[in-house]
């Protein structure tokens, strides 16, 4: 079956986006391979003269790089980081994340919309990380976003689909791919989001904190694929929608 994830005109077979933070560079290749990932996120930081190894040397060929703007506290900083990332010569994808809150690391939707508009205007494929709010999501669509990436729970919390009802609204109302990002702690949660109709899942901490990272990567791959298939097949019945009327409602109709 031809079921591609399309982001900004680019086609992907995998619906799992892998984070690369908080684990050893030596594990990246196995994580990418076992997760079947075709997109990997990166951060931009000050270069360190003492480090001889560069993450780009550990990422297999053909994987799309998705630099994030982590560290940005407003739209201007996010734009600055995105431009630096593009100058590094690895394509024009960018995951906009702007946090003004250092405790919960919750995204600032208003600043994210501003940054999205600027970066989309500069030709970036913009994938904004956001708090799942329908009005903000619509503004992001109008600003030129390529996908919407609502959080499931606070980043790194592994708490699962805490914002489930609101993510469902985005899936129902927004024509762009909805990629659930942040808070997904277990493969079963990723599967549930995919069953709901999410276009893809992004996870990092759930893998980084697993006892066996490549094995967990494989588990996520299978969970995402299972959820996708369940969604495409059309989920079965939901029982108990309320009691039936005692008198027929349609008795008044004439032939």
């Amino acid at each position: 079956m031809d079921d591609k994830l399309i982001i900004g005109g680019h086609e992907f077979n995998s619906r799992f986006i892998l984070g690369s933070g908080k684990y050893s560079l030596n594990l990246i290749e196995a994580a990418v391979r076992d997760a079947g990932a075709e997109i990997i996120t990166l951060a931009v930081r000050r270069a360190n003269t003492k480090e001889k190894e560069n993450i780009l040397d550990f990422i297999p060929e053909g994987v799309t790089l998705l630099p994030n703007t982590s560290g940005a506290r407003n739209a201007e900083e996010a734009v600055r980081i995105a431009r630096l990332a593009r100058e590094l010569g690895c394509g024009n994808f960018v995951k906009v994340e702007i946090m003004r809150d250092a405790k919960y690391l919750l995204p600032d939707n208003a600043e994210t919309i501003r940054a999205t508009e600027i970066l989309a205007g500069e030709g970036f494929v913009v994938m904004p990380y956001m708090y799942p709010d329908l009005n903000a999501a619509r503004d992001l669509v109008n600003a030129g976003a390529a996908t919407i990436m609502p959080l499931a729970a606070p980043i790194g919390s592994n708490k699962g689909l805490a914002t489930k009802e609101f993510i469902q609204i985005l899936i129902d109302e927004i024509d762009l791919p909805i990629i659930v990002d942040a808070g997904i702690g277990k493969p079963s949660q990723a599967c549930e989001a995919m069953e709901m109709g999410a276009a893809a899942i992004m996870a990092n901490t759930a893998l980084a904190t697993a006892g066996n990272l490549p094995l967990m990567a494989a588990a996520f791959r299978q969970a995402v694929e299972a959820g996708r298939k369940a969604y495409l097949s059309g989920l079965g019945r939901v029982l108990a929608r309320g009691s039936s009327a005692s008198d027929p409602l349609t008795g008044f109709l004439r032939d």
């Binding site: 939901v238 929608r241 009327a245």
Partner: protein
Amino acid sequence: MDNQYFVDSGNLSAEALERKHRLENDPSCRKNHMEYLPGMEEIKSDIREKVISQMNEYSPEKYTAKDVRTALEHDTCSIEDFKALLSPAAAPFLEQMAERARLETGKHFGNTVYVFTPLYIANYCENYCVYCGFNCYNHIKRMKLSMEQIEHEMKIIADSGMEEILILTGESRSQSDVKYIGEACKLARKYFRMVGLEIYPVNTDEYRYLHECGADYVTVFQETYDAEKYETLHLLGHKRVWPYRFDAQERALLGGMRGVAFSALLGLSDFRKDALASALHVYYLQRKYPYAEMSLSCPRLRPILNNDSINPHDVGEKQLCQIICAYRIFLPYVGITVSSRESAEFRNGIVKIAATKVSAGVSTGIGDHESKYSGKESGDAEGDEQFEICDSRSLDRMYKDISEEGLQPVLNDYLYV
């Protein structure tokens, strides 16, 4: 084509009659219905393509009882589910659909039913739409109310307790120009809380002007979304331009109107496809203009003066009920209006399931509210009606009937801002 619609008037001259027959029988002498006329604004919109491609793909016979059951089991009704609910396979599930529809209506509207009345201010028309009593070849008494007459009618209607009015005209730009309609809106704002318009489609700047005059809601019926069928029914006049009519609601919203209403006239073409297209027209516009209020009507064909053989064809009450339930399940938040074309029994039943708005104290004639409301004869000062209504209940009667069904009639809840 079948000619149940064509009626010749003895009052037409030989030349006029010849021209009428030529229009009816020779498609090559009709204007291209897809081509805009001078002065018609063309907005760039992707809505039409989306709606029509879905409609063209739709084969109602393809759906099975299993598809219908699946659709009813889903929490959110997808476009595919909606297609199943509109299909012939859904007929045996009408009661289940009604139960689900009632649940959705309750979630979004509670037990309220809105009541309004239409006011026809002119019945001149420049179009030859073969099924319509106002068509320019139909020999009827034509009339256009003066501002004094309009105000007189409005006073009578307002005295009956009505707070929402829908102003209608025949589709004649020359007899009922935008300025004339604007003046009527200004008068209406003095007597009513909410003023709607059902007039010929106009350009964005004209909708803006009418909004400034006090109108807030625009209703345009597409009649049929099947453009080829449309061409064979709307033979003459600006109404023949199908795409300009299609984009009317979007122009109205761009002009600042708060809400828009849609409909196909069920029975003109394949009613399942027309119902699908009507609902998708709402669905796609709602996604593009999420702040706008939207509602659907569901009129069936009715007999007209000088031609009582016009009928709703294959759209019986059960089919109509199926369509309305499907609308409600697919678009739970949308208003659904059921007009006085339907019987009192049907309207009493359908407001308990899915309809949220009904008209009362209705006349589709011109300047006859006084005679209809009070029995006072007005002599010759009335224009003929657009179609025969079926439910002639007054506002008082309607209010009482709705209340007795355990529902709450609402005359208006809109705060004008």
